[in-house]
Every structure is written in C-alpha cells, then in structure tokens.
Amino acid sequence: MGKAVKIALAGEGGQGVQSVAMILTDAAAMEGKEILYIPNFGVEQRGGVSIAFVQIGDEKIGAPKFKTGDIVVALSDRAVRRVGMYVGPETVFIYDAGIKGVEDDIPQDAQRILAIPALETANQELHPRVFNVLIMGAVIGATHVVALEKAKEAIEKKLGYKFEQNPELREMNFKALERGYEMVTGTGVA
C-alpha cells in the first residue's frame, strides 16, 4: 500500500456509519497499519448526517480531514448531498441503489459511480441490522485496506459477546460482510 487510502462514509445518525468505521479501523490496527479516524460530531444527540473520515496506510497519517476521498460512501439522500464536496476525479463514489430523489445530486465528476443494492439485500436476504456490516464489506471490496478475515476478527472482538448468546448472528454478520465485498469486487473496481 503506497499512499494512505482516504475513505468518507456518510449516513443518517443510527445507520451505523461510526460503528463500521470503528470495526474497520480496529481491523486495520490489528494488522499493524497506520490509521487516522475522525467522526464528524455536532451538538445534536441524534439525527442529522453522520460522517466518518478514515485514512489507512503504512506510514503515519498527516491531516485528519481531506479534500477528496478515494472512496466516498453515501447511505441516505441527505448523505448523498452532503458528501458531494469530497468527491473528485479520482474518487469511487458508492451509494445505496434504493435512495430516491437524488438523481440530480449524484456527483458527476467521480472516477466510478456504483449504486449497490445494500439496503434491499440486507432487508430481504439477511436482516436490517447487518446493513452496516454489508457496507463495511463493500468498503473493503473497494479498497482492500484490510483482509476480510481480519475484518471478521474485529467483528468477533466487538460483537463476540452477542454471538455467544446467538451464534446465528455471527453467521449473518459474516455473510453480510461477504455479500457487501462481492457487490463491489464483482464490478471490477478493485
């Protein structure tokens, strides 16, 4: 890995954007990578667009925020409008295919634009609760910043206590991770 990979993840408060960033960066830390993760935060306790700025590389990361992301992910209509400013000609822009009314807001200058059926897949094939893990899989598929197995270890570390009570949850989370990963790798982005 040369330069650090810059990722901006945006969604509605409660969609689990920050949880994804936490698990993803934990996985990268386990691999001994250098990481800088900063959540945007405001005075509101909930609601509003939540963004996670994540940079993962081999060397110490410079500034906490960046102008243009390598991967920008938007999970709601408001998130699409909010993160357009972080998209440039080198950016892979990923958004959920189910988001309505954003046709005119999708950034035009991105290198690649991918609409993935994350929400639909989570709701119909898995469980709405693992939507964010599916997104994490998509981010890993687009960046390969961590190995899928390391991501599973990090999920285990974070949710292991829940898995002990209900082992099916483990299987569902791992499946979501893999489905998300395949959704992006299948498109030939990375």
Binding site: T25, D26, A29, E34, I35, L36, Y37, I38, P39, N40, F41, G42, V43, K60, I61, G62, A63, P64, K65, F66, K67, T68
Partner: protein, 365 residues
C-alpha cells in the same frame, strides 16, 4: 503505591482524550478536577474509569471556575493535580489560572479547543491561543505546549507535570477537538522506563514543624498592599520566566535555509503545513516550515533566524490571526513579508495550503 498503569511500552490505537487520561496516569497524577464540556469530556470519562483501579481520585465540580480553583487547591496541598476544559470553560478557567500565575502554583490544564466565540461549535478551532497564553489579568507567565498528534498529547501531558513543578508556572497542553476525538496510533509508556523521572511534588500548606522555628513560614499571597510590593513580586516572576524561557522553548523546522516561502503553523494545522511543505519541496520548490511547540514562551530567536533566511513567510491557522499576532510580535523589526491563510474555526487540509502556496509563489515570477 499501587501497580503501574503501563509497563514498559505499549502500542495503542485510541482517541486523544483517552491518550491524555493515560498520560496523566503514567505521570502519576493523583487527582483530576473537572466539569464536563465537549470536546474534552472523555478525558474525565476515561480518567474516572481508570482512576479507581490505581487509587487515583476525581472530583466533579459545579463549573469550570471551581474546577480551576480546586485544581489550585489540590496543588497547594501538594498533589500532582490537573483539569481539562475547552471553549467557554477555558474562559471561566482564567480566573483561577490567574491565581495560579500570581502564586506560582504548578497547575496542569489540558485544553481541547472548540469553535468560538461563546458556545459556537463543539467541534474544533485554534481560537483559544490568545486566551490560553494571555488570559487573565496578568502578564501571561504560563507555559503552553501546542501538540499535533496523539503521541505528543501523551508525551507533553507527562512533560507538563514536570515543567509545571520544576519551574512553578501554570502549564497548559493546548490541543483541539480534532485531536480530542480522532483515533490514531501511539505508544504508551511508563516514563520511568524511558528514563523520565517525575519531578517530586511538595505541599505549599500544612508543612510539618512550627513556622518561624523549624522552617520559614509559608507566606502565600495573591493580594498586596502597595504598588511597589506587587511590582517587586512581578519583577521577580517575570525575570524568572524570561531566564528559564530558553530552556523551556521548543520548536521544529524543515527546509528553512533559503526558503522562498516559510510556512508557520502550530498544533494539528502544523501537520497539514508539514505535508504541504514536504510535497512542494519534493517538487523542487523552496518551501519550508517553522512550528512553535511552545506558544508561551515563544521560540523567538529560532523563528527570527528561520525568517531571516526566508523570502517571505505564511502564517496558517484555524483562527483569524491569533498565531499571527504572536508571529508579528516576535518578528518585530524584520522586513520579511507576512502572508496569511486564516480559517477561523475550520480545519485546514494540506491541499488548501499547497494551492495557496503555489498561488503566492506564482505571483512572484
């Protein structure tokens, strides 16, 4: 003494607030006083989580005025005590810190700057430079370290206790909301394992023995009857501050010989400036940087030497001219042109600095 919180060295990935709490533990701080305010809340949160395990204490006060005064009280009682605050809390903290300044009380305060004035944002700024360096009705006889990474937050929080207790001036670790909330890697360590000895504390009040017989009386004052009395005390304090300044000041510089443009930045913005300077230097441009680590006392001689070799300088900060004020004061009498990149309350990316630098250097051609 209980078990050591950190044995040897330990790689960690955590928030800056957490790093501060660990540093205070590692420095063998005995008590934190505090009142919650974003973005420093988690310093208290982590401290209160860790403290009981290592026989440390915490007192939540009714506001920052009393958090500051109880910190002063803790130090008077001989405790290695500290507090942390931000924004409007830092404003209230100035009254007790003036007292600490007046009485040479070695308090340690960690500041996580947020947007201002008033409540503004809970997020980030570099707008508490003037307040932290010169707040209060005094002369700013304080030591202010401006950190730029979690490693530095850890290193300088430990160092702040030693600087405060060695020189007996209130000492501040000045960071910001980004540093408070972001996660990055650092190495936690036991200071002793690195050969860092903690400067011993001693109580100002309640010393053993009979005053005047067994020991000189402890004569603690922040009130004086005559102008001359005050002037004598202040003169002594100012002299000691200035005499110790060369030993205390710290800075960092890069590519300062013959720079077409010298970037001047502190804290987290320094990281963006450093990235910009290195990128431009890599392209063959003569761009360097100067970073004051201590904002009080300011590395005046070192900046003047670097500026003397530069064609022009550019001050970059997330405030509207607070570092700039310090730079101008310290460059007084020099003719080097000063450009600015001032973004009050907003983060600054390396890309912005590169673009601005190229524009400035292009103008000269």
């Amino acid at each position: 003494m209980g078990e050591k919180p950190i044995k040897g060295e330990q790689k960690a990935f955590m928030t800056g607030n957490e790093a501060v709490a660990w540093a205070a533990l590692a420095a063998d701080a005995e008590i934190m006083y505090g009142y919650p305010i974003t973005p420093q809340n988690e310093v208290m949160q982590y401290w209160t989580r860790l403290a009981p395990k290592y026989d440390k204490r915490f007192l939540q006060t009714e506001d920052e005025l009393s958090a500051g005064f109880t910190t002063v009280g803790g130090v008077l009682a001989g405790r290695r005590a500290f507090t942390a605050t931000a924004g409007p809390g830092n404003v209230l903290m100035q009254e007790p810190m003036s007292m600490a300044e007046a009485m040479r009380i070695p308090t340690v305060v960690v500041i996580q700057q947020r947007g201002g004035p008033s409540t503004a944002t809970v997020i980030y700024s570099q707008q508490e430079v003037t307040l932290t360096c010169f707040g209060g009705n005094g002369e700013g006889l304080r030591i202010v370290y401006s950190t730029s990474s979690h490693q530095e937050l850890f290193d300088y929080t430990i160092k702040a206790f030693n600087t405060a207790w060695k020189y007996r001036f209130p000492t501040f670790v000045l960071a910001d909301g980004y540093q408070a909330k972001m996660r990055e890697s650092l190495v936690l360590y036991d200071p002793q394992a690195k050969g860092i000895e903690m400067v011993p504390t001693e109580s100002f009040v309640g010393k053993p023995g009979t005053p005047g017989e067994d020991r000189p009386p402890a004569h603690l004052r922040n009130t004086y009857n005559t102008e001359e009395e005050l002037f004598d005390v202040l003169s002594k304090n100012i002299r000691e501050f200035e005499e110790n300044a060369p030993e205390i000041t710290e800075y960092e510089e890069f590519n300062t010989d013959d720079a077409d443009l010298l970037l001047i930045a502190h804290g987290i913005v320094f990281r963006s400036a450093a990235m910009a300077a290195r990128e431009l230097a890599g392209e063959g441009q003569k761009v360097g940087y100067f970073r004051p680590i201590t904002l009080r006392p300011f590395p005046q001689e070192e900046l003047r030497q670097a500026a003397a070799k530069a064609k022009q300088v550019m001050v970059v900060e997330s405030a509207y001219g607070q570092l700039l004020k310090l730079v101008k004061e310290n460059l007084y009498g020099m003719e080097v042109p000063i450009k600015t990149h001032l973004r009050p309350g907003v983060g600054i990316t390396p890309e912005e600095i590169v673009a601005d630098t190229k524009k400035i250097l292009g103008e000269g051609e």
